[in-house]
Symmetry: C2
Subunit: 387 residues, 2 copies
């Protein structure tokens, strides 16, 4: 049972100070005191401890008009590194950053790994990334791995596109690198990334349309994954009760209409092609291909249904859409929004992805920051920051 104690008070206040310096620094002790409503004495004591532990440091004074100049404090972002990996079906992307998510290197590798060698493959990839990083006081803070499938408690429960279910990724990598390792679903990481770097709101849904369709759910500022990590598996919500058969056993699942897989498969079938990439599809669409245009209509229509259902279910601050289609054909946002103009959706706040193809990687970074510092990161003046 978590009970109140003096240690808890200091813990709460210390994290508040660290969060303030991280997200609003450089900032002075006096300003922190005003912002948090704690006395200057308390702030001074906590700051001394945080400096001692090398989380923050004093930098030059600020320019003020009157009185003694404040000593500015800033977060020591380069004192450690984070590795965030997008374990894609075709490509593995490894992103290294400092403790504020700043780019320290990005590498891409074809994913030729099988169930038998994927873990050693990841160790190899991580070592390659680590090799380029300078020594730091803290070293590696943690490793995040974005999985295209359902995860629960650091285990892959179900992944339709690769055969990695049940593998002890986290345990092995954690033993090997002696740092925390987190496996998390890509839609979940994606929405975390959007929240921390772009849209700082407490309740948001990230609608991720890639091979399948998933939603990352943030409620009260916290990721909600359900009791088995299956929350947000909206690809298998039924939106057409008499519709297309789905491998899951039901009919009319969203995923059969609005996923990349559905659209590209439909296109390939109609055009009697073996396989179509999203780039080829978009090129066809842009050149006025009628089939592609019809399928884009389908995507817009069914994605709007998905957004309608999410709005009426969650009534969130924002819904962010991230998909290859909307990234490559930006006007789709407006078209989806146009289909949502009815009485129940007056509070609709549909927004485009701010991070697009790196949302998963930056979401992984935020997960590690949260684990390592115990603090929610909210990137101030981020390149990606929205309204």
């Amino acid at each position: 049972m978590i009970t109140g104690s003096k240690a808890m008070i200091r813990d709460i206040n210390s994290h508040l100070v660290l969060e303030t310096v991280l997200n609003e620094g450089p900032i002075s002790r006096a300003a922190i005191s005003v912002k948090l409503g704690l006395t200057k004495a308390t702030i001074s004591a906590i700051v001394a401890d945080l400096i001692d532990r090398q989380f923050i440091r004093e930098i030059g004074s600020d320019d003020t008009s009157l009185g003694r100049k404040p000593i500015l404090l800033e977060f020591c972002k380069e004192n450690g590194h984070i590795i965030s990996i997008d374990l894609g079906v075709n490509t593995i992307t490894a992103f290294t950053s400092d403790l504020k998510g700043n780019d320290c290197g990005l590498k891409m590798f074809p994913n030729n790994y099988t169930r038998d060698n994927i873990i050693s493959g990841l160790i190899y990839i991580i070592n390659l990334s680590l090799a380029e990083l300078p020594e730091t006081p803290f070293g590696l803070a943690g490793i995040a791995i974005g999985v295209h499938g359902v995860t629960n408690g650091n285990e892959i429960l179900f992944a339709p596109y690769y055969d990695y279910s049940g593998l002890p990724f986290a345990d092995r990598l954690s033993e090997h690198f002696e740092v925390p390792v987190f496996l998390e679903n890509e839609a979940n990481l994606s929405v975390i990334g959007e929240k921390c770097f772009c849209y700082n709101v407490p309740n948001m849904i990230g609608l991720s349309v890639h091979s399948g369709v998933g939603a990352g759910i943030i409620i009260d500022g916290k990721l909600y994954t359900g009791i088995n990590g299956n929350a947000g598996e909206i690809g298998h919500t039924i939106i057409n009760v008499d519709g297309r058969k789905c491998p899951c056993g039901n009919h009319g699942c969203l995923e059969q209409y609005a996923s990349e897989r559905a659209i590209l498969t439909d296109y390939a079938e109609i055009r009697e092609l073996e396989k179509v990439t999203i780039e080829e599809f978009v090129a066809a669409y842009n050149s006025g291909d009628k089939t592609a245009s019809d399928l884009v209509d389908q995507f817009v229509r069914y994605t709007a249904v998905a957004v309608n259902n999410l709005l009426n279910t969650f009534n969130p601050d924002v819904i962010v859409i991230n998909s290859g289609f909307t990234i490559n054909i930006p006007e789709l946002h407006e078209r989806i929004r146009d289909q949502l103009k009815n009485r129940m959706n007056k509070y609709c706040t549909l927004v485009p992805s701010g991070l697009q193809d790196i949302s998963i990687l930056l979401g992984g970074v935020c997960l590690i920051i949260k684990d390592y510092l115990g603090v929610d990161y909210s990137a101030p003046n981020s390149d990606f920051m929205m309204g």
Copy 2:
């Protein structure tokens, strides 16, 4: 900004002690100390204060085999009263209880009130209920009002079945009776009631099928209502993209298929009747009426779709169904569950309502308990308690 302070420590621990006595009492100081992990000295200090404030009292000793007998502490449930009202379209139900939700009287009134006199009507009804209650140290702890419509911050935003939107219920009643007043959507109250009295789990969805279809959402033990109180308005999620037109402007909303209104309207139309009550409909079904049977099939089929979608969206501990159909035709639960046997729903934990037609009223009681005591009530050994 909420910061850590000494007052916070005592506040946290004091509420934990009160919660323990409320939900697990009668219990001794020693047992509380072990359960919470606080020292006996701390518990003694907090208990002295709670006794002083008349929230708890000492009762006789417990029988133990060895050593000094513990002094049992219990919650003073009869020191105050709660009024919970179900503001139905046809009927207003007023329930009075002690501070643990025990029945102190239930009255029903036809709802003939208009926009102009509903507030004075409620004052009249509440006064009638109060008149029968004995004097208590605390008096009235609060009033909860269950609304069949969307509420946000104690205001009715939208109610399709009566014309009470925007009325200052809470302000007027709060001024008049000088106690806190809460307006809340009926599906939300319903799921709170089920959580506190029947299913003590942190993540649950209450599917309420009455005139419309709504879901009460509890995440991490807390009601989630969205940013405008519109969360859980699943009656307007689209489950049949080319389906029936809905007044909301879309096609194929769940409410057009699986609500009482939809089923009863369909039945009346087919049978060329003016109006059918749910009792008449159930009687027809029980007497083998084919039309009723077909419409029950429709209800089962679409309710299963709703549950499927909720499972894949929330992956909660449990989903509770509460509807006139399932209350009156219990085998429908099994039939709904039978339609859910597919790969994605292996964690399905669909359960019947434990409180049935009083879930809204008891949910209101829990809301007031939470407000008044600052503690989550979890009815121990409740008559309604499930597994």
